[in-house]
Amino acid sequence: MMNRGYFGNFGGAFLPEILVATFDELEEAYTLVKRDPGFWQDYEQLMASYSCRPTPVTFAENLTRHFGGGRIFIKREDLNHTGAHKANNVMGQGLLVKRMGKTRVIAETGAGQHGVATATMAARFGFDCTIYMGEVDVERQRPNVFWMEQLGATVVPVTDGTRILKDAINAAFRDWVTNMDSTHYVLGTACGPHPFPEMVSWFQSIVGKEARQQLSAQEGRLPSRVYACVGGGSNAMGVFSGFFDDDVELVGVEAAGRGLDTGQHAARLCSRDASVGVAQGYKTYFLQDADGQMRETHSIAAGLDYVGVSPILADLKDKGRVRFEGATDGEVIAAVSLTMKKEGVIPALESAHAFVQAFKEAPTLSQDEILLVNQSGRGDKDIFTIADAFDDPKWKQFITQKARQYHA
């Protein structure tokens, strides 16, 4: 291992020996493409022709009027192909896999977005594809499982551990240690062993680059504050990276679940419940017990329901460069509802965490100031989850009738 990928005290590469050579190979390939301006051009071109990039920045005029204070702008990552920022990372890694000459990709998925994005990329590039997904998530995200399978991927329900995202990551690593010669592991977020945190952030940096240019051109100024939800941290790293060198306050919003004092949340950086540890190949803040065993986490948004967090964000927290807040499940539902009614856009439950905090702070800013919210994904694809969250009686009636038809 040449570069161990530390960000302050966080990161590293805590790898089983069998995988060290694979990571050396990956780092070498990544370093080469990072130095090659042609690669980034190919990447931007692919994202323009396949995934609607650049995604727009939308002025949320009605929400701005509703809250008074600063002007709210939304970066529309929901308009990516497959409906979330996940496509940025996945298509970038797909180009890298082609350069490395591998023929098979594997991925973990929580909510299913990263799985669908990976299956889409594999179909487009002609790779074999296996997606690992916790059994609990398979049950709660059936529509995404349907799409992954229709796209030609094999979906393996993971029955180990807590049967959610972190267990899917472990299962993907177990596949990789056997099949590394043919296979690349498309890790979905800015976590895991080096070079994943840095590499995934690099692909996602397209979000921040665009947003900075767009606001400068449209408004002639930068935002005062940028808000992003934080699960693993890839959409946050993406949008924040456009503003690291500016006098812009960066706000990461974690899942406070049923409340930070209930123990039922997934807040690693804004709660006292997390501590520094080493798991899944990297060092960061984890929600773990005194023995170092990972705890169960909770969020209404499956994509934020994770025990660890990007080591780069952990470092930015310690350095005070990013502020971290929490949004509860209840606040999130209210924010989704308000955003739909006021603006006609449907944020994913994950993204709505960022909206919650922006709404809290908008009234405190002056009218010439800008709040930029990263809408990392769209919510309409999560119709089952959102309908459940809204507890909509007409939806339930429809599903019951539909079930009856299948039984007939």
Binding site: L15, E17, V20, R174, V278
Partner: protein, 254 residues
């Protein structure tokens, strides 16, 4: 000291046997009974795995045992007390096997102090490559304990030599790609791999991952110094009970 013990045993046996247990699985009492049975059946070294919630290098059998032990409430301090008990009670060397977070959360220095005081001889930490191991190596060295490192078939010779510089006691040679418990083919390729390992280090070599019967152990005689039986012991305990262990372990050493 681990290496002199291994060398001296090797004057009496062609190959030594190291077995593995997950502490607290199926229960702490059973773990003690399993260790006793292993020692009485002539096992030369035992790995005590402290369960961890994310054991990424382990296959399904050992993974389930980790989860079950944790679900039954087994704690790290119980595992350390168990280590102390068996090290005091039985004359063979015991090693801990666990993932780095267990040491890190406990405090690497504290963990090493415990091992020295309790009479453990070394540790195997599969997610701690030498590049990340400065604190660990200092603590182990200070306490006179052996940090066991791992060679794999994907490890280059130059890297093997670098690992050998910090390793002590013996080197754990992983037989193949994959996780614990899958099938391994004992072939010429394995001969070449072990020859490469031998070239890289003067330390004794232990071979594990997929060793399951007498013919596998016999294949390794003269090529490796220690045969490691991990998953197969767990499978046997699960399917036939602890009583089936003694005849199985004796059959490996005929």
């Amino acid at each position: 000291m681990l290496e002199p013990y291994i060398r001296s045993r090797l004057t009496e046996k062609r190959i030594l046997l190291m077995t593995h247990i997950v502490v607290g699985y199926p229960s702490l009492d059973d773990s003690l009974e399993i260790v006793r049975t292993m020692v009485e059946a002539g096992v030369d070294l035992i790995e005590l795995q402290i369960p961890f919630s994310e054991p990424i290098a382990d296959g399904p059998v050992i993974l389930k045992a980790n989860q079950q032990a944790l679900a039954d409430g087994v704690t790290v301090s119980q595992c350390l007390a168990f280590g102390r008990t068996v090290a005091a009670q039985f004359a063979i060397p015991f090693l801990y096997m666990t993932y780095y977070n267990v040491l890190f959360k406990n405090g690497v220095d504290r963990f090493a102090d415990h091992m020295r005081d309790a009479g453990l001889k070394g540790a195997i930490v599969p997610d701690l490559p030498p590049e990340e191991a400065d604190d660990y190596l200092n603590a182990m060295g200070r306490c006179g304990l052996s940090p066991i490192f791992i060679f794999s078939p994907t490890t280059t010779e130059a890297r093997m030599q670098a690992i050998a510089k910090v390793a002590d006691g013996f080197v754990y040679c992983v037989a193949r790609k994959g996780v614990t418990g899958d099938q391994t083919i004992f072939s010429r390729q394995m001969d070449e791999y072990l020859t490469g390992c031998r070239r890289a280090t003067g330390l004794p070599l232990a071979l594990g991952f997929g060793v399951k019967d007498r013919s596998d152990v016999k294949f390794l005689e003269g090529k490796a110094d220690i045969a490691i039986i991990g998953t197969e012991v767990l499978r046997l305990v699960e399917s036939q009970g602890i009583a089936a262990l003694a005849p199985f372990l004796r059959s490996l050493q005929i």
